[in-house]
């Protein structure tokens, strides 16, 4: 009975167009935000923040970026890791080469560089479709990995090719403690999630989805494929790039190209598929699933006090992980987001069956 929208009449289109038209949802999201911003920083253990929440937030951001490309515009990309890498290394270069470069500025500029690279590798999408495109995007992955290993200028001539970010600070505030890092990421994710949501529910979002669903029809109603696809690549890789910069600066703080290898790209793709293609909320679900699940799995033995061989544990983890992915695809190919909305539907009718 709690989840009811009866009596909530929209009196204006604005009211009907808002992100969460239903009152209960607005309350819920408000609570979540309060929890995330106010409660968590105080109660969460350092481990929870450093090892789970921060990666979760950053990867959610990346997943949102990828979801715009794959979920909304229907262009499969296996090269996401590359764009993260570009973001991270570009931000690093702005940071070390320009004195007094504010942190946020270099992170965003990192995103801009990723945008440029993203658009370049997006151009083939104008001709290449589907799986062909997916594999073609691997070119980006491998080429970028190689470039950062080989071109020493990009890594400020560090002999090993690995780079590291200096003590982070924003307007004199040190970003050092887990809590501050967590909040820093949280702000980014919240803002970008909102902006992304605005885009996908606006005109450009409709263009992207139109391209995804029926490109010929889209062209006939005057949508330019070039514009739609390239903006999708641009926006997507910008967000992904910023996420990459955060991953490098905030989470790892010292990294090498391997931190953005093919597995990273696959994980992100998993996140958007498991979470739900074409759903911002789904990106969060997906990220949570992919980040938390393996950790939960290989912690299991210790919780239940059965110390099993490390190797076996790792193998079981990867087996269960793989199995669950298949399981979810079978149960709900449209991802957790769809399950979520179905759950809500059920809740609306509850306790009366339809």
């Amino acid at each position: 009975m709690l989840y009811r929208e009866n009596g909530q009449f929209k009196t204006s289109y604005r009211a009907d167009q808002q992100i969460f038209p239903i009152l209960q949802d607005r309350i819920a999201i408000a609570l979540v935000l309060v929890l995330a911003f106010v409660v968590v920083p105080f109660v969460a253990s350092e481990y929870l923040m450093r090892a789970i929440l921060i990666p979760f937030l950053i990867l959610s951001l990346a997943a949102i970026g990828l979801n715009i490309l794959v979920g909304y515009c229907g262009q499969i990309s296996l090269g996401t890791g590359a764009f993260m890498a570009v973001g991270a290394y570009a931000a690093y270069n702005f940071q070390v080469r320009i004195d007094g470069m504010p942190l946020i500025a270099s992170l965003l500029l990192g995103g801009v560089c990723a945008t440029v690279v993203g658009v370049v590798f997006g151009i083939p999408s104008l001709r290449i479709k589907g799986l062909y495109l997916a594999v073609a995007t691997l070119a980006a992955q491998f080429f970028v990995d190689w470039a950062f290993l080989r071109i020493s200028w990009l890594t400020n001539d560090s002999s090993s090719g690995s780079v590291s970010a200096a003590g982070l600070q924003v307007l004199g505030l040190q970003i050092q403690s887990p809590a501050s890092k967590y909040l820093f990421c949280l702000v980014f994710v919240t803002v970008f999630a909102l902006l992304a949501k605005n885009l996908v529910r606006g005109a450009i979002g409709r263009e992207w989805m139109a391209m995804r669903d029926m490109d010929v029809a889209a062209a006939v109603i005057g949508i330019r494929p070039v514009y739609a696809k390239l903006t999708a690549f641009a926006v997507s890789s910008f967000i992904v790039g910023v996420a990459g910069a955060l991953w490098g600066f905030v989470h790892l703080s010292t990294w090498e190209p391997a931190a953005f290898n093919l597995n990273r790209s696959f994980d992100l793709l998993f996140m958007v598929i498991i979470g739900g293609l074409g759903s911002i909320m789904g990106s969060f679900f997906g990220a949570a699933f992919i980040v938390v699940l393996p950790i939960v799995l290989d912690n299991m033995p210790y919780w239940f006090g059965i110390p099993i061989d490390t190797a076996l544990a790792a193998h079981l983890t990867s087996m269960i992980f793989g199995a669950l992915i298949v399981f979810f695809l079978v149960v709900e190919p449209h991802g957790l987001a769809r399950l979520w909305s179905i759950g809500k539907e059920k809740l609306r009718l509850w306790p009366f069956p339809h």
Binding site: A51, W255, A311
Partner: protein, 445 residues
């Protein structure tokens, strides 16, 4: 069905998070020294990572069984699988650092993870020990307070190889005009030695050919075609895991003489040559330590650990090269703890910070080593505030088709070359990190 599975997923996640919040609560157990063990028993490098990990674990078990710990302080440990992946390594570090009264020391077993942990260690006040790997610059303890690249770095290793090659060639002057190819793992690990070798090639005007091999190194055909094309006088092999055995097989397939191949100490273990067998006969590699079960420490492990079938791995693995290295690493950690106890109180549980001091003041002379049962296994080492390496000595070993034979001569890396490089690199790192040099006073702490 669908909704059920949604709730199931939610439940799993919730349960997970809940217990993760509570799990690392740091209530110190009574008198237990905790050694977190970052290992990889899976993934591309498992065959090499596993004996290493087993060595570390068995030594702890042995000390507990034989001496009942360090001056009565029992030793505990917990493993975490990194799969050689940096982000996983960071997660493991965060998971274990607070557990069971706090981590004593970390041995990341991976250059990549070491890089990532180098910034975290000073904040959490936990020493990092990277025996024979990691950041070469970290030798400079005045800047890298928490890193301990004990017994050698890639720079010292490369330097020693050049020395040995010069010796076999009959003097440095003979290197002039010679061609040395570096076949390296295309990653920070493989690229680390390059600056040192370039330095050397300038000195002795031999030309250095760089041939990268993409990780994990299963496809080296092109690399060895290049070797065959340029016919270098010597090949240095800077590989890890499957890359080594593959390289040897390709060398055989392209008919490059194995006698002229020299590997780093990570390319000189049984897994690298085992299944090449006679094909690798004559191949040389750096040796930080000997192999074999004759040393007393191995006997003790066989007696106190495998004897009570508490062995971590198979029995016949005891005394293999990487296993021995694992034992040495664990021994050094424990000796550092013991040293710390001498200063901060015998029979007490040491914090990471105290153990760091222990690492910085290690003095393992031959006598001490013998008493520990490491006679002939390794070179004595003594660390200091300025020198976190303790020893830059190594030998050359040669594969005779069945086992590794260590050659008698010890080489020491040339300070004249290494020191300035370390200093410069450390300064650069410090500048980027906005770190400051430690003061003499800080050394007393």
């Amino acid at each position: 069905m669908k909704v059920k599975s949604l709730f199931m997923a939610a439940a799993v996640t919730a349960a997970g998070l809940a217990s993760l919040i509570t799990s690392p609560a740091a209530f110190a157990q009574a008198k237990e020294q905790f050694y977190p063990l970052l290992v990889y028993r899976t993934g591309p490098y498992a065959p090499n990572g596993t004996p290493w990990a087993n060595g570390k674990q068995d030594y702890i078990k042995m000390i507990n069984a034989r001496d009942g710990g360090i001056n009565g302080v029992k030793l505990t440990y917990e493993e975490c699988e990194t799969g050689y992946a940096t982000d996983k390594g960071v997660e493991c570090y965060e998971r274990l650092k607070g557990k069971n009264g706090g981590a004593t020391v970390f041995d990341p077993q991976s250059t990549g993870i070491t890089f990532a942990l180098t910034d975290k260690a000073p904040i959490d006040k936990i020493p990092l020990i990277t025996l024979g790997y990691g950041l070469s610059a970290a030798q400079d303890g005045m800047i890298f307070k928490w890193n301990f690249p004990l017994m050698g770095s890639y720079w010292t290793g490369a330097d020693i190889l050049v020395q040995h090659i010069a010796k076999t060639a009959g003097g440095y002057d003979k290197l002039k005009g010679k061609k040395i190819a570096l076949v390296y793992h295309d990653s920070p690990f493989g690229k680390e030695p390059i600056p040192e070798l370039q330095e050397r090639s300038k000195m002795h005007s031999f030309d250095l050919q760089l041939i990268p091999v993409a990780a994990p190194g299963v496809d080296q055909k092109a690399a060895w075609l290049q070797v065959r094309q340029s016919r270098p006088d010597y090949v240095m092999l800077w590989g890890w895991g499957v890359m080594n055995s593959t390289a040897l097989k390709e060398a055989q397939a392209t008919g490059y003489p194995r006698e002229k191949m020299y590997g780093v100490w990570w390319a000189g273990a049984e897994p690298d040559v085992k299944d090449v067998g006679m094909g690798a006969k004559g191949y040389n590699a750096l040796a930080l330590n000997t192999a074999g079960t004759h040393p007393k420490v191995m006997q003790d492990i066989l007696k106190y650990v495998h004897g009570k079938d508490a062995g971590t791995g198979p029995k016949d693995e005891v005394g293999s090269v990487l296993y021995t290295r694992g034992v040495i690493i664990q021994m050094l950690s424990i000796e550092a703890t013991r040293r710390a106890q001498e200063r901060f109180g015998k029979g007490k549980v040491m914090t990471g910070e105290q153990v760091r001091w222990g690492f910085e003041n290690l003095a393992l002379d031959q006598k001490k080593l013998d008493s520990l049962g490491f006679a002939g296994v390794m070179r004595p080492l003594s660390t200091s505030c300025a020198d976190h390496m303790g020893s830059t000595w190594a030998r050359i070993e040669t594969w005779d088709g069945a086992k590794w034979n260590v050659q008698p001569t010890w080489y020491e890396a040339d300070e004249q070359i290494i020191k300035p490089m370390v200093k410069a690199a450390a300064e650069k790192y410090a500048a980027e990190k906005k770190w400051t040099r430690r003061t003499a006073a800080d050394c007393q702490s």
